[in-house]
Symmetry: C2
Subunit: 212 residues, 2 copies
């Protein structure tokens, strides 16, 4: 089946959002924890986290200024800090509920029942239930004029994860850690590992990497 | 277990790349098809595709200018066009092999055995084996000075997918279509759907969306 750009533009808004969000494939599912200068905390769910580089260790996040995520954006610009928390199956419904339009005076930690945790004196709250999480310092804010969204680039600070999930070569086994993935706007999925493959070289067939 | 930014900086390069790439969660896995002005084709595997917006329909891609992906970047800047092709389990090893450092004169289609397909007179090749794929026109190139990578923003043009995977509300069921996901640099995963959840509202518990 084929649809073109004119068809997409003619879809009604929720249909188009659902369709176009599906095209990007399976995505990272994380909760972003922040607080404002007065200590009012906020938690928001994102599916736009992406890797930018390992040295320095950088991640990007796309923020829509017209959504509830504006609390996240406001807090990050106010304090410079935020936390990224992977989502597990055990609390994906609470993570999803964090996307409801709560007023700024309501902390999504209270509204969803997820537990706030402060680690290593960092100025933003973590999600206690999350098994893979890290603190971030804002490095750059880029306005994407093409559609009015904002790209936040942050530097990874402290990383917390289960020791049993760290491989000999630095690979962190997210499936073992229980991190889940999302597709479209609202479809949640567990994963089932096919294999890890060795570094690809011209003229060689990639081998499966087996952890001992 | 905890590691901090100093630990990460002290990791050796491959270990650091593997570790930091794991933190971003499960990612979109796609093959990007391009050709240069003479018609020499190229295929590269990416795990940095991300959704930017639905109206206009935009996706972003992070490109590293010092890697084999420079052929992709060069071709896109030369012609303005590229294709995005989801990866299925049936050909994930060929997709992985496309990341080997082939010279520009070698098409990764030939090297990996994936079949080139031209659709609707579009000026870049698709992967025939791919079930969800779309054509893209470059809209913006942003140099990320923080680490020398490049963010390419493209407009979605024609989209091809199995009709049976399209839901009543515009949701495209990627799990049904057989799209897979990647974590870290080289770990490939199938998915297992937990549920879709209804739009989150304050004071309501999200319902599971069941397709009829």
């Amino acid at each position: 089946m084929q649809v073109n750009i004119k068809d997409i533009e003619a879809f009604d808004k929720p249909y188009r959002a659902s369709f176009v969000n599906s095209l990007g494939g399976f995505k990272s599912l994380v909760l972003v924890g922040t607080e404002d200068a007065t200590g009012q905390s906020n938690l928001a769910v994102f599916n736009s986290l992406f890797h930018i580089g390992a040295s320095p260790a950088l991640c990007g996040l796309v923020v829509r200024p017209d959504s509830v995520e504006r609390h996240t954006l406001g807090n990050i610009m106010e304090t410079g800090f935020y936390t990224i928390n992977h989502v597990k199956e055990e609390f994906y419904k609470a993570a999803h509920q964090a996307s409801a339009r709560y007023p700024k005076s309501v902390s999504e930690f209270d509204a969803t029942g997820l537990e706030k945790e402060y680690l290593n004196d960092f100025k933003a709250p973590f999600v206690k239930e999350s098994h893979v999480k890290f603190s971030m310092e804002i490095a750059e804010k880029i306005d994407l004029k093409i559609n009015g969204t904002i790209l936040l680039i942050g530097k990874i600070q402290d990383v917390y994860f289960p020791e049993a999930c760290l491989g000999q070569d630095g690979f962190l086994d997210l499936e073992k850690a229980g991190s889940i993935t999302v597709s479209g706007l609202d479809s949640y999925h567990k994963t089932h590992k096919i294999a890890r493959l060795s570094y690809a070289k011209v003229g060689e067939v990639p081998r499966e990497i087996v952890e001992i």
